[in-house]
C-alpha cells in the first residue's frame, strides 16, 4: 500500500549532507501492524514523515497505492493526511479552544460525524469528558483524544510517532493497545525506541543511522486482506 524505493532524506548540516534516511526500501501492507524500532537520532521520525507525505524524499520515491507522493500537489498530499492517513504525534497537540470532541472532528472534516467521534471517545474511556477543553484533561486523556482524532473516519494507514513518549509505561502500553484495537481495517505503523511497545507487531524493522539493519516478521501474519486484532479481548 505504501512503498518506499531507495528513499533517502538528507538534511544539510554545516554544508555537509546528513542522511536521516538512506536508500530505504520498505512496503507497508494493508492491515498490518508495522513497528519501526531504533535509538534516538536513527531517523525513525524522518522515515515516518516521508511515508505520511509530511516530507518529500530527497532522492528515491514513496508511493501510495502506486502513486508517487512526491509528484502530488500540496493539496493532494494534504488530502492524503486528511482522509487516508491518521497520525498520532509524539506530543499530544490539541487545539486549545476546541472541546475534546471538536478536536477529534477537526482531523476529518466532512468525513467523521459527531456520533462516530463520541462513540470513539466512549470506547477510549473518555466519553464523559468529550465536552472538556484540552487544559481540563490529563496528559493520558489528551493522548487518547489524539488517538481518536487519528482513528476517526476509517483511515487506511495510522501512523504513530513515539505516541507513548509523554506517558508512563503503563499508559503508553494502553495507548498502543487502543490503537491496535480500534484501527479497524487500517494498517498501523508505530515508531518507537521501546521494543516492549511492539510486542504484538506483525513486523518490526530496526533502523540505525538511517538504514534498515534488521527485519523481524511474525510468521503467523498473513499480509493479504484485512486482519483482526492479534491481541486484546
Amino acid at each position: 500500500m505504501i512503498e518506499l524505493r531507495q528513499a533517502s532524506l538528507v538534511y544539510k548540516d554545516q554544508g555537509k549532507d546528513l542522511y536521516a534516511c538512506r536508500h530505504i526500501n520498505l512496503t507497508v501492507r494493508p492491515g498490518e501492524f508495522l513497528g519501526i524500532l531504533g535509538p534516538s537520532g536513527s531517523g525513525k521520525s524522518s522515515l515516518l514523515y516521508m511515508m505520511s507525505g509530511l516530507k518529500s524524499p530527497t532522492s528515491g520515491e514513496v508511493l501510495y497505492k502506486d502513486q508517487r507522493i512526491s509528484e502530488m500537489s500540496e493539496p493532494e498530499r494534504a488530502r492524503l493526511r486528511l482522509v487516508d492517513f491518521g497520525i498520532v504525534f509524539q506530543y499530544p497537540y490539541l487545539i486549545g479552544y476546541l472541546s475534546a470532541l471538536e478536536n477529534v472532528l477537526v482531523g476529518s472534516p466532512g468525513v467523521g460525524t459527531r456520533e462516530k467521534a463520541q462513540e470513539l471517545l466512549l470506547d477510549l474511556g473518555i466519553g464523559h469528558k468529550s465536552h472538556r477543553l484540552p487544559h481540563e484533561l490529563s496528559g493520558g486523556e489528551r493522548q487518547r483524544v489524539c488517538v481518536a482524532r487519528a482513528l476517526l473516519g476509517g483511515r487506511s494507514v495510522i501512523f504513530a510517532d513515539e505516541p507513548t513518549a509523554s506517558l508512563d509505561h503503563t499508559n503508553g502500553l494502553a495507548v498502543v493497545d487502543l490503537l491496535v484495537r480500534h484501527r479497524g481495517e487500517g494498517a498501523l505503523v508505530i515508531v518507537t525506541h521501546d521494543p516492549s511497545m511492539l510486542a504484538h507487531a506483525n513486523r518490526v524493522i530496526h533502523i540505525t543511522d538511517g538504514e534498515v539493519v534488521k527485519e523481524e516478521v511474525d510468521p503467523s501474519f498473513a499480509p493479504t486482506g484485512p486482519i483482526r486484532e492479534t491481541i486484546g479481548p
Partner: protein, 380 residues
Amino acid sequence: MKRILTFSTYLVRNGGKSLPLIGVIVLAVLLIVGIVALMNSIPYSIRTIYKHSKNYTGLVPRSNASVDHNIRKEIRDGSPVPIEPILVIRGSQAQVKSIVGGWPFVVLAMRQDDMRRYAKRLNITKIEGRYPKAGEAEALISEPVARNLKLKLGDPLLKPDNADAYSMFPVKIVGIAQTDYWTMMMPYEYHEKYHFPPYDSALVFAKNPADQDKLDRWIHEKYRGANLRVFAYFLLEEETNGMFRILYQILNVVIFTLVAVITLMMAMLINIYQSQRIQEFGLLQALGYTRRDLIRRVLGESIAVVLVGWILGVAAAQGMLQLVKSRLMDPNAFALDVWDRSALLYTIPVPVMIFLAAVGAIWSRFRTFDPVSVVERRLA
C-alpha cells in the same frame, strides 16, 4: 474548514484576544471621526452662518463713495445675466458666536419693500412677530441667530453699551424669521439717522439663482482694484479654504501619525497572537489542512475583526457626534455635520492598514512554515 473551524470560531472563543483588537479599531475610528468632524465644523460653521451670501453679490464702498446710481447703472447695463432690481442698503456691525469665538455679522438696513423682497429671496415664509417698521429702533433676526445669541422677541439686538453690536438706542427684536439662513435686518431709515457710515451699499440678485455665481465673478472682475469691496460666496469659499489649508495639512500629518501608530501596535498584537497559534497552524497543516485553507481562515478572521471594528467604530462615532450635536452644538446653533463624509473617509486607512499589516504578518509566517518543526516541538 468545514463545520468545526469557521473563521469565527477562533474569534468567538478567544474574546480576550479579539475584543481588544476590535476595541483598538473602534477607539481609533472614534478618535479620528471626532477630531475631523469637530475640525470640519469650523469651516462648516462659516459656510452655514454666511450662507445667505449665496443669494446675492454684495457691494460695499471702501471710502466716501456710495454705491451710487452710476455704479448701479453700470451693473444693470453690463451684467452677463438677467438681474433683479438692485437693493440699496446700509450695514451695521454685529457679532455671532462660534465654537472658536465671536465672528462679525452684518445687520442689513433695508427699506420696507426691500426687506420683503430679501426675505422672499431667502425663502422666508413664516415670521414670528413682524417686520421692523420704517424709522423705528427695531430688528428682525432669523431663528438660528436667536438661538445662537439666546435672543427672543423684545430683546435688544444692538444697544448703546455693546461695543460689538452698537446702536445709540436699544434696537429691539420684533420678528424672528423661520429659516435656516442666518440673517439680521433693521430699517434703512433708522440706520440713516443714527448709524455710521452714511454711505449706501448694494445687493445684486441674479434673476435666476443658478446664475448668481456667474454674476458674482463678473462683478468681482469688473471692480477689481476699484474703490468698492465685493462680497460673494465664492470669495468666502476661497478665503475659508485658504484659511484652513495649513490647519488641514497639520490634521493630515496628525491622522497619518495616528494611523501609523495604531497600525504598528496592531501589527505587533497580531504577530503575538499568531505566534501563540503556531502550534495550531502546524498541527492543522500536519493533519492535512492546506496552507491555503489556513491563510484563507486567518484572512477571514482579519477581515471580520477589521470590519466589525470599523463598523462599530463608525456607529460609536455617529452616536458620539449625535450626542455632541444635540447637547452642545444645537442649543447654540453651532454647525456640526453628524454624517460628515470626509470624517468617515479619514477613518478608511485604519481598517485598510490594519488588514495589510495582518496580511503581512500572515504572509511572513506561512512563507517558510514547516509543520514538522511544530509537531517535532522545535517551534512552540
